[in-house]
């Protein structure tokens, strides 16, 4: 039973290794760069799938949580603390290994916060913001919730676009690499493409396994019951407000972590990451992925983001994701890659056979 559940995970790992091997052997490792980026974006989509597909709560503001993660890390790891080295807080941070001295491009000594400390700070800020935003807006349902999350996303976008702390329209660049155990690092160095691909892949596999476990558990059933009938869920003793809030925070943390790592991988972040259109594309991908289907969301998340990042959609990028969303809402509001629909597809050969069988008997 458990073994059967992990077959797709094994297949995913095999695919990851295969992609890497093929691209390295054929001398096309540059493909891995966009694949790595697509993998980080699909982390946002996985979290959003649990919120939208399984719990039935829409968010048109998840790019904001990605941006909060990315910008927090960008600000904290590029802010030079050497001027404040005497400050007791900075001293304590550097004594605890949270800040490290280095040299900037001009050879001047700098003291910056360690990316790990920045990651923790980003998660803490995301959790706080998600709680503060979630408590009032998750009382709303349907398109009212959609509009409230949209508003939140727009506010965050205007803030990062307008504040000098966040580099205004230029964003923040020249982030340090994110050090990983074993001498690895998340960074955009072309020589480190393969290791970065694997770091992103490990995060995605971990994310999908955690969420698979969640969906198929007491908590997951409670979340799905909210989608089915909030009134009945309440009558069964499920504290629906609390669960909606917690899953909102969880999905925000997924977006935040993706934001942190992708920002280090890219070496910077700009305000376009917080744009409403980003949030719309995340929602569109969850929808084509089948709403309540982690694997569909993952496949679509990687494929569509990859195509978009490689420029296949050209200047029609926004039309593609907007069009996908409109199409899904009109023709398949429950999502495209639904499990039931796929099962129906699996039964197709048998159905065709019986059709022909019946013909022969006549």
């Amino acid at each position: 039973m458990i073994a059967k559940k992990y077959i797709p995970v094994a297949a995913l790992v095999a695919c990851i290794v295969l992609f890497q091997a093929v691209s390295s052997l054929t001398g096309r490792e540059y493909y891995l760069t966009q694949l790595t980026m697509a993998a980080y974006y699909s982390l946002v989509i996985l979290g959003l799938t649990v919120l939208m597909g399984f719990t039935g709560q829409i968010s048109l503001g998840h790019a904001a949580f990605f941006a909060i993660g990315g910008y927090t890390s960008a600000v904290l790891t590029t802010l030079d603390l050497s001027g404040a080295a005497g400050n007791p807080v900075v001293k304590a941070a550097s004594a605890a290994g949270f800040a490290a001295a280095s040299k900037d491009a001009y050879g001047a000594g700098t003291l910056v916060l360690s990316p790990w400390a920045a990651l923790v700070a980003a998660i803490v800020i995301t959790v706080i913001v998600a709680f503060l935003i979630g408590i009032p807006i998750l009382k709303l349902k349907g398109h009212y919730l959609a509009m409230a999350t949209l508003g939140f996303g727009i506010i965050v976008y205007r803030i990062v676009l307008g504040a000098s702390l966040f580099g205004e329209a230029d964003g923040i660049s020249d982030l340090p690499p994110f050090p990983m155990p074993g001498g690895l690092a998340v960074c955009g160095d072309p020589a480190r493409r393969v290791e970065n691909f694997y770091i992103a892949a490990v995060l995605v596999v971990a994310g999908v396994v955690l969420l698979m476990n969640l969906v198929d558990s007491r908590v997951g059933r409670a979340l799905r019951s909210i989608h089915g009938s909030e009134e009945a869920a309440n009558a069964m003793g499920v504290d629906t407000s609390r669960y909606k809030l917690l899953v909102f925070v969880l999905s925000a943390v997924f977006a935040c972590v993706a934001g942190v790592f992708l920002t280090h991988f890219n070496g910077g972040i700009g305000p376009s990451e917080a744009e409403t259109m980003k949030s719309v594309s995340y929602v569109a991908i969850v929808a084509v992925g089948g709403m309540a289907n982690l694997w569909g969301a993952l496949v679509m998340g990687v494929v569509l983001n990859y195509l978009s990042l490689r420029g296949y959609f050209g200047s029609y990028d926004e039309f593609v994701f907007g069009g996908i969303l409109i199409g899904i809402m009109m023709f398949a509001p429950e999502g495209l890659l639904r499990m039931e629909a796929l099962r129906g597809l699996a039964g197709l050969p048998a159905r065709i056979k019986t059709m022909f069988g019946a013909k022969n008997e006549e």
């Binding site: 409670a222 309440n234 009558a235 003793g237 504290d239």
Partner: protein, 254 residues
């Protein structure tokens, strides 16, 4: 003291007094029926007891503790479970999973334990699954465990709802028209089930239109009409009560 006491309970919608100063009580381990013509306020009464609606005034007391004004999930956690007149099963979930939701209040794993599949959560999961299967077997629908609940025929869906409510191990079970839309065989089955769970120590409050079912299984009957209690007593008395007969026949004439 009575197990469930309803004291002066009222609730209006605009100018309509849906439940109007209703008072009655239910003894422990009793099957009590609430009957009345359509629009008498029966379902509103259930919504007031289960917390889905807030009363304008009055009290609902379980085992000496007032529960009115609490959130539905808190009331459910005190062992009060219900079914719905218009069935509310969870879509995109199997019959077994629907019933497993009933075990929610009897288990505790949180987000972290669920995501990491901690040993405690796994043990709990086995308990949830086994108990839910036992209930499906008790009700004779274990063969449907893997089917999608909302795709079942109506009669079976009612039984799944009943199973889901039972899975909470209720002390008080509120059944809102459990036999509506069922055939004679299914109705007899439900009647058996209601008396079986009463023998297991559950107190049952049931809204029902099927008079033969009501007269067969209930110990006492409360009659509502236009939000007011108009009669209360054992089935044989209610059958002869002129006011009840007038209300019912008057309704049919209209």
């Amino acid at each position: 003291m009575s197990f469930l006491t309803i004291q002066g309970l009222s609730r209006s919608f605009g100018g309509l007094r849906a439940v109007d100063d209703v008072t009655f009580s239910v003894e422990k381990n009793m099957i009590k029926a609430v009957i009345g013509p359509n629009g008498a306020g029966k379902t509103t009464l259930f919504n007031l007891i289960s917390g889905a609606l807030l009363p304008d005034s009055g009290e609902v007391v379980i085992d000496g503790a007032p529960i009115q004004g609490q959130a539905p999930y808190r009331i459910a956690r005190q062992g009060i479970s219900r079914t719905f007149q218009n069935i509310k099963l969870f879509s995109h979930m199997s019959v077994l999973e629907n019933v497993m939701i009933g075990r929610h209040i009897r288990s505790r794993a949180g987000f972290m334990q669920a995501m990491l599949r901690s040993p405690g959560a796994r043990r709990e999961e086995v308990e949830i699954r086994d108990t839910s299967m036992d209930i499906l077997k008790l009700l004779g629908i274990d063969g449907l465990a893997g089917q999608e609940a909302t795709s079942l025929p109506f009669g079976k869906q009612r039984i799944v709802e009943f199973a889901r409510a039972l899975a909470t191990e209720p002390v008080l079970l509120l059944l809102d028209e459990p036999a509506a839309g069922l055939n004679m065989y299914e109705t007899a089955h439900i009647a058996d089930m209601i008396t079986t769970i009463r023998e297991r120590g559950v107190t049952v409050l049931v809204i029902e239109h099927d008079m033969s079912l009501v007269m067969n299984i209930s110990d006492e009957i409360t009659v509502l009409s236009s939000g007011k209690k108009i009669a209360e007593g054992v089935p044989s008395d209610i059958q002869r009560n002129p006011e009840v007969i007038r209300v019912y026949l008057g309704e049919e004439d209209a």
